[in-house]
Symmetry: C2
Subunit: 133 residues, 2 copies
């Protein structure tokens, strides 16, 4: 019995099996998912919407429109810009923005732990299916 | 203080706040998310890929290609068709297919419970932001 089928190794995902997308919806106008969270995190770390977007391979226009959608959906600012508009000045997270990001990261962690046993069971069966092939 | 802002009521999501998208990735070739799970469930309930897809507003071609992607990614059949091909004959879930669906529903439930406290905290702050506006 071969425990490792070398022909399959290249196909194994780079990251360990598990949660890859968690979206949580609050209203028709506001949800938080991995892309929005990464953008908030990038803004907190770089102090710039443009730099945060660039890090994700996103145009400034796209990053800015995501920020706008978040601020409007929240009915208050999650991201505060130093020029207050579409200018490429500095940007920071408001208290609400930092809270939403922290809570989202906590949700990802909690969800990951909660599904771990089911992920392992499905992964085990998938490994068996791949070996039988 | 108005606890309910009528102008905002229409904007509240139809479903309660919470998990709307959970994707779990196992390999570069196999993941399970809400769309795939709903399709598997529809096939189990209708005995037909076509009927399951129609229920989700999906063309037969799209539903069939999703089934094919799942079967190939799993390296074994999750969905078995009576004609074994692209024909519109009957379809059922294999044991693996039923297991993957059941485990995915369990993961959704576990994740929902695990994030409930964070969802409530974010929802409460969003309600305050909307009322202040």
């Amino acid at each position: 019995m071969r425990w490792i089928d070398r022909s399959k190794v290249a196909k194994v995902a780079k990251s360990p099996p598990g949660l890859t997308h968690l979206r949580v919806t609050f209203t028709d106008d506001f949800y938080i998912g991995p892309g929005r969270a990464d953008l908030l995190e990038g803004i907190a770390e770089t102090g710039s919407i443009s730099a945060a977007g660039k890090r994700m391979g996103m145009s400034y226009k796209r990053a800015w429109s995501l920020v706008q959608a978040m601020n409007e959906g929240w009915h208050a600012l999650l991201v505060e810009t130093s020029r207050g508009g579409a200018g490429q000045g500095g940007a920071t997270l408001s208290d609400d923005g930092a809270m939403v990001l922290a809570r989202y990261r906590a949700m990802q962690g909690a969800a990951r732990s909660a599904i771990a046993a089911d992920v392992a069971a499905v992964g085990k069966r998938l490994g068996e299916a791949a070996r039988k092939k």
